[in-house]
């Protein structure tokens, strides 16, 4: 890239990750392509709403998978853990506790998330303290917890769930409506503005170079535009036979909360820094005085909790607990992280990338369903996309 190329100059001044820009560009190409191929169905408010809901379960788990893979491990059990915790939640809520009691659904969620954490700790213990490769431990977990999901009710599907709980799945009533969606949008814009300002002040105080003010404003406007666009789209999809806007679906709100929390963990805590250091050079991390074992254990605990959150959304959305929940989800989750630029060699990855990866995969899946592509053919194509994404990544790194 030449010094005079204006696009290159803008990108450098904005300090944006070029890889991330490429991914967004690819996503836009996919969206426009699918919109053309589906005769304008893909980019309707209704479909984008569904796409957002569909992406949230894989997206939530993918944020945890980024940390796992960055730390040079892998978790093959996430689909099974999600299925098992989901079955426990559904079974407790429907069969054991009083259905309809106010305390029922919050308690089952709490139990589900705790169970996720305990399962994560169990697997993390084996990986961190006994040195068994994560591949083996979580392959064992994949089998055990899939079997466990069946054993909870001997394979019987449990339904229906508590009506309030169902809102978490983003069904007909599972969104926050027009007004609250705008409130969310305004708050989000305010947060972006505040962070931009704070960051700039801090860099000035330390006498570091700051971005040109025009670039800073342009980036802020870009974010504002994205947020407003998102709220507008979610508000343009109405409830059936009415003019009542749905607004942002609850599972997408949960996903956004998870993205924010996980990005903070990865970027501004020493724990997150240690995860990346371990991935870059495990020996150096150990010699720097980092408790590598404890850090590894916590990574798996976080992954377990995220599986619990995904289980809540899935059972709420299905309005049932079925032992097949999350079957093969581990593959989508790993693929989302890898398509999003997480390096299987460890040390490199980002939460935002994994979310983009999840949306890319879900867009292809969703678009092909709209086009009437058979499920067998969809698998073939998604598999090719996975290889293509990693190939792109390898080429990109070689060129640098």
């Amino acid at each position: 890239m030449g010094q005079d190329n204006p696009i290159a100059r803008v990108i450098r001044a904005s300090e944006l990750d070029t890889r991330m820009i490429a991914m967004v560009a690819i996503l836009l190409v996919i969206w426009i392509g699918l919109d053309v191929l589906t005769g304008g169905i893909f980019l309707t408010a209704r479909n984008l709403y569904n796409l957002a809901v569909q992406s949230s379960v894989v997206g939530i788990m993918a944020t945890g998978m980024v940390l796992v893979i960055v730390a040079r491990h892998i978790d093959l059990s996430v689909g099974s853990v999600m299925g098992f915790t989901g079955m426990i939640i559904a079974w407790l809520q429907v069969d054991i506790f009083t259905l309809g009691a106010v305390w029922n659904w919050p308690l089952t969620i709490l139990i589900g998330l705790t169970l996720g954490a305990v399962i994560g700790a169990w697997q993390g213990y084996w990986v961190a303290y006994t040195g068994i490769p994560a591949f083996v431990v979580t392959l064992g977990g994949l089998l055990m917890f899939r079997g466990g999901a069946f054993l909870v009710t001997d394979g019987r599907t449990v339904a229906p769930m508590d009506p309030t709980y169902q809102l978490l799945g983003g069904g007909i009533h599972g969104s926050i409506g027009e007004t609250w969606s705008w409130v969310f949008g305004v708050v989000a814009i305010a947060v972006v503005a505040l962070l931009t300002y704070k960051n700039r002040q801090s860099r000035k105080r330390h006498e570091f170079a700051v971005k040109p003010i025009a670039v800073e404003i342009a980036l802020f406007l870009l974010w504002t535009g994205l947020i407003i666009g998102f709220v507008l789209v979610m508000n343009s999809y109405y409830k059936p036979r009415s003019e009542v806007a749905r607004g942002i679906p609850v599972p997408v709100l949960i996903l956004i909360a998870v993205i924010v929390a996980m990005t903070l963990i990865a970027r501004v805590t020493s724990f997150g820094r240690y995860v990346f250091a371990m991935g870059g050079n495990p020996e150096a991390a150990e010699l720097s005085g980092i408790d590598v074992k404890k850090t590894t254990l916590i990574v798996f605990v976080i992954m377990g909790v995220l599986c619990g959150i995904a289980a809540v959304i899935t059972t709420a959305r299905l309005n049932a607990g079925a032992n097949s929940m999350g079957m093969l989800a581990e593959l989508s989750v790993i693929a989302a992280a890898v398509i999003g630029g997480t390096s299987l060699a460890g040390g490199i990855g980002s939460i935002a990338g994994a979310i983009l990866g999840a949306v890319v995969m879900q867009s292809l899946e969703n678009g092909m369903v709209l086009m009437g592509v058979s499920s067998a053919m969809r698998q073939v194509i998604i598999g090719l996309v996975l290889i293509g994404a990693v190939w792109f990544d390898t080429m990109y790194k070689k060129r640098r």
Partner: protein
């Protein structure tokens, strides 16, 4: 020089299966002195130093710091005693930038307990510029840096946190002439500040320029411990290669000083 040694390693033992990597070795280190630890590859010198830095548990013997018995089981323990190490492998996380490596394990925090990256970057700029004024790309991943720059980061890591005891394992192996001189000057400066330094080196120039004393190891044993004035380069090479001083050796400075 004070009476209590900064470090006393007494009768240190380390075995790997049947191999006796360190066999009943004792060394000490006083404030403001540089002790060269010499020997062939596999003589046990790196092993001995790794025991002191907490990277390797000892099988027998005792380590005292300032006369007090210690339990050094991991690098955190060693750092708590003010023992810092510059490893030959540099021990850097290649995917992180210079400030992140410099503060790894000891990050600066904001009042909310989050990483204070800007403050760390500012501190890193100061210390790295002192060591190498041409160091500008400190926010790049360490992977993309030159051998000399990586070495500077590793050195900065060790001296930033007010080390009392510094272990330098081949600190100049990857460096050019000007950077080697920088490390030599730094070593002299740290010694004058009262820091005790163990220097592992193969470079006889470095050893005779910088060290106050030398300890020579061969096959896990300590085969000689001398003040630098007592020995010539040939004497040291004889100790390293043959494990003994040349026949008919007597101290070069006529003996006298202990």
């Amino acid at each position: 020089m004070s009476d209590t040694p900064l470090v006393e390693m007494r009768n240190i033992e380390k075995r790997f299966g049947g191999v006796h990597a360190v066999d009943n070795v004792s060394v000490d280190l006083y404030p403001g002195e540089v002790v060269g630890v010499l020997g062939h590859n596999g003589a046990g010198k790196s092993c001995l130093m790794k025991i002191l830095s907490g990277a390797m548990p000892l099988d027998g013997g005792e380590i005292r710091v300032n006369g007090e018995p210690t339990e050094i089981e991991n690098p955190r323990d060693a750092m708590a005693y003010g023992i810092e190490t510059i490893y030959q492998t540099l021990a850097l996380a290649d995917n992180l930038n210079a400030p992140a490596n410099l503060f790894l394990g000891r990050e600066m925090k904001t009042r909310w307990g989050t990483l204070n990256d800007d403050a760390m970057e500012a501190e890193a700029r100061k210390v790295l510029h002192r060591l190498n004024p041409n160091f500008t790309n400190i926010n790049d991943a360490v992977r993309t840096m030159s051998g000399g720059q990586r070495q500077v980061v590793a050195i900065a890591r060790a001296i930033y946190f007010n080390a009392k005891i510094l272990i330098m394992d081949e600190p100049t192996a990857a460096l050019g002439p000007s950077e080697t001189k920088m490390v030599a000057d730094l070593t002299t400066q740290l010694r004058s500040e009262g820091i005790g330094i163990f220097l592992i080196s193969h470079d006889m120039h470095d050893v005779f320029d910088l060290c106050d004393r030398i300890v020579v190891m061969k096959n896990g044993h300590c085969v000689g411990a001398h003040r630098i004035e007592e020995v010539s380069k040939d004497d040291v090479l004889s100790l390293i290669i043959a494990g003994q001083l040349p026949e008919g050796w007597s101290p070069r400075n006529g003996g006298g000083r202990a």
